[in-house]
Structure formats: C-alpha cells, structure tokens
C-alpha cells in the first residue's frame, strides 16, 4: 500500500479522467511532469473496472486530454491510456455531413467545421465551448484546409479533439473532391 501526502486542494480535486500506466514509477514521473507544467492532477488508485497495468494512476481533468496527451508524448512519458472515469470510454467518432451549395459542413460531437468544396478554404467553425476554440477559430478560418495545422496539434481540450475529428473528415472529403 502506498501513501501520498496531499494538499486540501488536491484532495478535493475531481477531474473525471485517468491516465493509466504500466508501472508505478511511470505514474509518479508523469504526475511530476504534468504538475510542473501547470496541470492540476493527483495520484489515485484506479477503480477495478478501469485498471490496466499497475495499481496507480494519475487523475486529470479529462477535458484537458489533448494537452495532457501531447505533453506526455513530448516528454517521452510512457502511459497506457487516458480514460474518463464515467460513461463511454471512447471519444465519439461518428461524424455527420451536411452539404450546402459549394460548401460542406462536417459535424463531430459538439463541433462543426464548414469548408468551400471548390477551394478548400475553411469558411466557419461553430459549436464547442472550451477556451481553445475561439483561438483555433482565429487560426484556421479563411485558410485552406490543406495549409493549416490539425487542431489537436495546437488545442488542449476535448472540444479541440472533436474539431480535429471534423477536420480530418473534411480534409478527406476535400481531397476526394479534388481528384
């Protein structure tokens, strides 16, 4: 049994997501890395139904999945999976497509990306609510879909991951139209 001294704020923290690891050492190292980069996290024992690898996990704010995942990969920190504590374990991967005259809107979860089917220019991004979405909106709108970075490269949140899903589908549709 391992004990960790927690501050009151850490003890209260409930982020709704877990990073799972193969070993206890990896979990402790990842917790330090995330904390050093300003993420609010805490070491926890994963519930039995989610347990994979070792019996220590890092609880994160699941909304920050995109940023956490990118940071851990950049730092070569090994982890098995990032999961929500409740509900379905996988991100929604279904997309819906709506066609307008000369434009196509791709919806993924709460995010919608609309592009010009002739030029590939991103006309609008709508939906979502996390703080990286207005930032990504400014960075992407009125630019060609083939010339902007994927949202998950610059976004931090689950809304950015949903926008990334819509972006990938939109790019695929545009590339097919071009052929």
């Amino acid at each position: 049994m391992m004990f960790f001294k927690k501050t009151k704020r850490q003890a209260r923290f409930a982020g709704g997501g877990l990073v799972l690891f193969q070993s206890v050492e990896e979990a402790i190292a990842a917790e330090k890395t995330l904390r050093a980069h300003g993420y609010e996290v805490k070491l926890v024992a994963p519930p039995p139904k989610l347990r994979k690898g070792c019996d220590l996990a890092v609880e994160i704010n699941i909304v920050e999945k995109a940023g956490v995942e990118r940071l851990l990969r950049q730092q070569d920190a090994h982890f098995l999976e990032i999961l929500p504590l409740k509900g379905v374990g996988e991100l929604l991967d279904i997309v819906k497509v709506v066609n307008f005259d000369n434009a196509c809107m791709v919806k993924a979860g709460n995010m919608k990306l609309t592009f010009d089917i002739n030029t590939g220019v991103i006309l609008n991004i709508s939906g979502g609510g996390c703080p990286d979405i207005p930032f990504l909106h400014l960075a992407m709108v009125d630019k060609k879909i083939t010339e902007v970075a994927r949202p998950k490269e610059n976004g931090h949140t689950l809304c950015a991951l949903m926008l990334d899903r819509a972006f990938v589908e939109a790019a695929e549709i545009f590339n097919k139209e071009e052929i």
């Binding site: 929500p84 509900g87 709460n110 609510g129 703080p131 400014l138």
Partner: protein, 283 residues
Amino acid sequence: MLLICGTIPQAGASLVMGEVSFDGSRLAVGNTEIPCTQGTAALASAACVVAKHCGSAAPHAVFAGDTGSGKGSRLLYDYLSNNLPQLSPDILLMHYILPVMGLMKQVCAAADKCGKKPVMMADASSMYAAKAAGLAGQFDIFTPDLSEMEFLADPDAIHPAYISRHLFRADIACADDLIAAAFRQKSMAKTVVIKGATDHVIQEGKVKFTLSEPDLPALEAIGGTGDTISGMIGAFVDAGLTHLDAAMKALKANRKAGQLVQAKPATKVREIIAAIPRALNHN
C-alpha cells in the same frame, strides 16, 4: 447589472474587467479593445446591442485571456469565487471557460452568498461544467444546441465528446426524448433554450415555445450564432423581460438578422451582429 464572464483568445492569462461598449464594430471592456470573434466576444457584442435597444444599462464583463491552457480560466474562477458577493450582479452569465467541476462549485457557492442570488445563466463550457458537477439545478437558464442537449441527456457524459453514440445519432425529431431524459436526471436548468433547426424553449421539462421560421440552415455553420442568442437573452432579462419572453425575442431576432444578411456558410458572426439592431426593430 448583467455580468458576462468568459475567456477570450488572447495569450497571457490576465483579467480584463469593466463596462462593455460596442459601437457596431468595435467591442471594448473598459478601455481594452477586444476582437469581436466567435465566442464570448460575440455574446457580449449582442448583449450590448440589446441593452441599447431596450435603453438599459450596458453590461459589465470579466474576461480572461486563455488560449486553452486553462490558466486564464482558473484566474476567472478564482476572481468570481472571491468577489461575487461584493459584485452581486442581477444576472451572472457564464460562457467560455475550461470546465473544472470543483471550481464551478465554488462559483455557485459564492453566488449563494450574494445579497440576492443572481439569475444564473450558463452557455458553452460553463454549462458543461455545471452539468458534469451536478449543479444544473442551481442555474436558471441554459442555452445548448442539439449536440449539447444530447450531452445533457446522457447521464454519464462529462463532456459532449463522450456522449453515447445512440444519442449523437439523434436529430431534432428526437428533441422531446432528449428533453425528457435530461429533465428526468436533473441535468436541466429551469429554462433551457435549445438552438437548432427548430429552436425550443423548455421550462420545467415542458416545451413552451418552438420556432423554425425563417428556415436558415446556414446559421448552424456560422460560428457565434449561438453565442449571440445567449447574449441577447441575458440583456433582455436584464431589461426586465421574463425568461420565456427574453428567449423568444432573442430567437426571433437572431433568425431575422440571419435573414437580413442572407446568411450563407461563409457569413461571419460580425455581419449577423451588425444586423441585430434592424432585426430587433422588426420584432
């Protein structure tokens, strides 16, 4: 006082606060100019337009720079938790912010300490945080779109990215089922305004109003057209309208503005906002 709180896409996690002004193209909080983009800036711009139309006081705002790291969001949560009782706004309208359940609980606790509890409104990720933290019942008005309504209807989802597939397959024809499910599990605010192909206003789980004309499918594609509705509702409530009347007027004005600019998928929200004064005079 209508107090609008949210993040703006500026690097550097500092707070900007003060009276909001909007001259039809330039948005400012105090002396700080804010780019009028999709998100909280669009919401605040639309709120200013309605306040001017109604002859009521300009809204106030607390904005935090945040491009996704969450630092600005945390500053904003902390500011509200520490200062809401002194500010005691009539309406607290919370918008873009990193959803952090524990911090949203602190904001709600601070709102309870106001001399008179503000009308509590949440849109975008403030609504996600309120639902995920089990605080929906403490809010007076939510303004989801259909995908966010699916999130409210999912008992376990902590964010719309994790809703069940069968719910995402739903369309507006299933709105009644989503409303019933969300109401059953207490994920609804007292008034819920669903923005979509058919707009719905729900009170205590019952549909009080629907609107589907003029039919403008392109509005869904235009980033910020839901934000404008939320801002207008907040300002109409501040002007003294009932929550139902405020929602109905905002929904009508938004569609009318879209019709006036002949909204297309490439239309920008600033064009919609510029048409709201004319749209309000049509209502």
